[in-house]
């Protein structure tokens, strides 16, 4: 290990940290410019007020809330998928979990900032601490998102410790940082046992926290009496949508890093096949919930609900509504059920369509209901301004930049889990199979 000629068998996983291409710098520069433009537009909003946005009466929520819900939804990729795959001991999870956990950490920060941007005056956030009312779903939301962010950061950090120790021992840049963050990890049996136990506890804890987050976000809408929002199905509908968008985002991230950093040996066709199948299942589930939601509304034919229903189906928002259905259902169905199209590029197309479709779903949920309230107003109009669009672009840039930054400090694929998989997986899986398959020599009566 201390031999300068020593090359780790998983050297390719260390390479993004130690080697930086020209295109990395160019992309980072472009993204920083977009981010700074977004910051400039936000400062402009602070100076001139929310009048610079397209929000008005009655449409008082727009891009900021849509983006907030969208990014928090994507966060389910990470911790939930990683935790569920670890809990079910799916061996194919090993190269995936780190990227999934990083997605969660980054998008929770980006999503969490958006309600503060939406407030207009950010000092108003202090009112939550002074005079907040726990009766409000907004407070439940603040509590659950903070808990989820804390849990998912710890859940990202704990399995990262052995890899940080590897980086510490290699020497080189950021060595002091790695020494601090590795907490003296040496890979002794006691240390492995402690880490494994903590990760096991966390992976069970994090699942109900993750489910509670998006359920509570849905309650921000469904606990009101707004037509189109006041629905009992919103809790599970939002959770399904979140997992759906999360898997799609994870697939996109995996494909991009596989291509850029040459992880073909670690992120194989089989990983994308499995995730593609999960994506298809979530697409069907999403369609089922959407169908149930709108059928119930249509069958009831309550006038204020039907105003919103028709606005989405054939009124001002019909292009977005039907584009959402195409992106979330038709495209995944076509690409993920057809063997010839279920290739990595095909799965990428389906995933991109889902990410777009799920953002549109948030748009369809937020704006039409506000534009058609129960009060006798004419239908409201919402046209997003340059401020809101630039902040959406800045949020997306921040997401990519966050990942790029992470890739320069820590491995994107869990190296110790890959090594552990090579050493132990075959034996562990064989033992598991022996436990539930019938033994040889069983006599039939």
């Amino acid at each position: 290990m201390n031999d300068p000629q020593y090359i780790d068998e998983d050297e390719v996983l260390f390479r993004p940290i130690y080697e930086t291409s020209k295109s990395f710098y160019i992309l980072a520069a472009v993204l920083v410019v977009l981010l700074l433009f977004g910051v400039f537009m936000y400062v402009r909003q602070l100076v001139y007020g929310l009048g610079v946005t397209g929000m008005n009466e009655p449409v008082s929520w727009g891009f900021y809330i849509i983006t907030f819900v969208f990014f928090i939804g994507i966060s389910h990729a990470g911790t939930l998928i990683s935790a569920i795959l670890r809990l079910s001991k799916a061996e194919w999870r090993r190269p995936i979990t780190r990227m999934a956990e990083v997605i969660t950490g980054i998008v929770l920060i980006i999503g969490g900032i958006h309600p503060i941007i939406d407030l207009g005056r950010p000092d108003r956030i202090l009112h939550i601490f002074e005079r907040g009312r726990l009766q409000s779903p907004l407070l439940w939301d603040m509590t659950s998102i903070t808990a989820y962010f804390t849990a998912s950061t710890i859940y990202l950090y704990l399995p990262l410790i052995p890899d940080i120790a590897l980086l510490r021992d290699r020497g080189g840049k950021f060595n002091k940082l790695y020494r601090i963050l590795s907490w003296g990890y040496q890979g002794t049996e006691k240390q492995k046992h402690v880490l494994e136990r903590a990760i096991n506890i966390l992976m069970v804890m994090v699942i109900p926290i993750a489910i509670s987050v998006h359920t509570v976000i849905s309650w921000i809408f469904s606990m009101t009496l707004q037509p189109g929002w006041h629905s009992t199905i919103f809790g599970p509908y939002f959770v399904v949508g979140a997992i759906f968008s999360g898997i799609a985002a994870l697939i996109i991230v995996m494909i991009v890093f596989r291509k850029v950093f040459h992880f073909e040996d670690y992120l194989k066709q089989i990983h994308f096949n499995y995730l593609g199948t999960l994506l298809l299942v979530m697409s069907l589930l999403w369609f089922y919930f959407t169908f149930a939601e709108y059928l119930t509304t249509f069958y009831g034919h309550e006038p204020t609900e039907m105003r919103v229903f028709l606005y989405k189906f054939i009124g001002g928002y019909y292009p977005f509504f039907w584009l959402m259905v195409i992106c979330n259902f038709l495209i995944p169905l076509i690409f993920l059920t057809n063997k010839k199209l279920k290739t990595i590029p095909g799965i990428l197309v389906a995933s991109i369509a889902v990410v777009i479709g799920m953002w549109l779903e948030r748009l369809i949920i937020v704006v039409p209901s506000l534009a058609n309230p129960r009060l006798p107003y004419p239908t409201g109009m919402y046209i997003p301004s340059l401020t809101e669009v630039s902040l959406l672009v800045a949020a997306s840039s921040a997401f990519i930049l966050g990942f790029m930054g992470f890739s320069k400090l820590f491995p994107l694929i869990s190296i110790w889990e890959i090594k552990e998989g090579r050493e132990e997986s075959v034996r562990v899986v064989s033992e598991r199979l022996n436990e539930y398959l019938p033994s040889k020599g069983h006599i039939r009566k």
Binding site: M1, N2, L134, W140, D169, E189, K190, Q191, V194
Partner: protein, 86 residues
């Protein structure tokens, strides 16, 4: 697989404890916030029972998370092979 940890061990521990304390400060801060919000709910005559239940759940989650991280960090410190430190 892992080489010896060198001499400024004491300084490292100090920095690591500072980092860990941030999490305990968060847990304490959330506890104080939620207790304050329960107090506000009594003042404005909101649903006190719901406020208390939500607060208890929230407080427990944060303290468990802080405890897990402390357990890991103490466990890693205790589980190290002192021979490798030399």
């Amino acid at each position: 697989m892992f080489r010896k940890i060198k001499s400024f061990f004491g300084k490292l521990i100090f920095i690591q404890i500072i980092l860990l304390s941030f999490l305990w400060m968060l847990a304490s801060g959330m506890t104080l916030l939620l207790i304050n919000l329960v107090h506000v709910s009594y003042e404005v005559n909101d649903h006190q029972s719901a406020s208390i239940v939500i607060s208890i759940l929230g407080i427990i989650v944060f303290w468990i998370l802080a405890s897990i991280l402390t357990y890991v960090l103490v466990g890693l410190y205790k589980g190290r092979d002192k021979e490798l430190d030399k």
